[in-house]
Amino acid sequence: SQTIHQWPATLVQPVGSPLSLECTVEGTSNPNLYWYRQAAGRGLQLLFYSVGIGQISSEVPQNLSASRPQDRQFILSSKKLLLSDSGFYLCAWSVMEGGAGANVLTFGAGSRLTVL
């Protein structure tokens, strides 16, 4: 069965420090991978998605970047965090067509980032 791991679960970082959140998926090949951010009391905003190794699409201009160095690994990074980067970050995966699970996004447990 497929599983998704996301870490760290909680992170408190000072303004201007770097960030690295990691997500890995097991039990599937060539998944679509996504990073979403959820600000307090609000909906989910898509930050990045990837359809393959090295292929990253950015949805909104921001202080963050994403990379996909391996098929089932997706990393969210920042060189210098801003206060506005605080939030709950969710990684997700999906496969495209075929079967009842097609096009369903499965989410990780999330990473809570507080920038002070």
């Binding site: 609000r42 998605y49 969710l90 447990a109």
Partner: protein, 116 residues
């Protein structure tokens, strides 16, 4: 671009009663998927139900069912026999069918409280 609107920020229901959560969307696509996700206090995003737009029959999953009105672009979720564990934030989401750009667009969510 697609938009998803959940106009009710909060709802409350008595345990064992039935509640309906509303969602409308706007798209020029003819083929797409609609979803309801649940986010309990643990903040784990959990798929509740999925509807394929080309299917006229409304999807059901145990106590959860949808009323999909394609012409009206409406997609409401009915929860029957509400349970305390249904207390959560519920998100309606849209995904365009096919291609590599299988991104989920979320509504802002509704907070559902089930009263004992």
């Amino acid at each position: 671009a697609q938009t998803v609107t959940q106009s009710q920020p909060e709802m409350s229901v008595q345990e064992a009663e039935t509640v309906t959560l509303s969602c409308t969307y706007d798209t020029s696509e003819s083929n797409y998927y609609l979803f309801w996700y649940k986010q309990p206090p643990s903040r784990q995003m959990i798929l509740v139900i999925r509807q394929e737009a080309y299917k006229q029959q409304n999807a059901t999953e145990n106590r959860f069912s949808v009323n999909f009105q394609k012409a009206a672009k409406s997609f409401s979720l009915k929860i029957s026999d509400s349970q305390l564990g249904d207390t959560a934030m519920y998100f309606c989401a849209f995904m365009k069918h096919g291609g590599a750009n299988s991104k989920l667009t979320f509504g802002k969510g509704i907070t559902l409280s089930v009263r004992p």
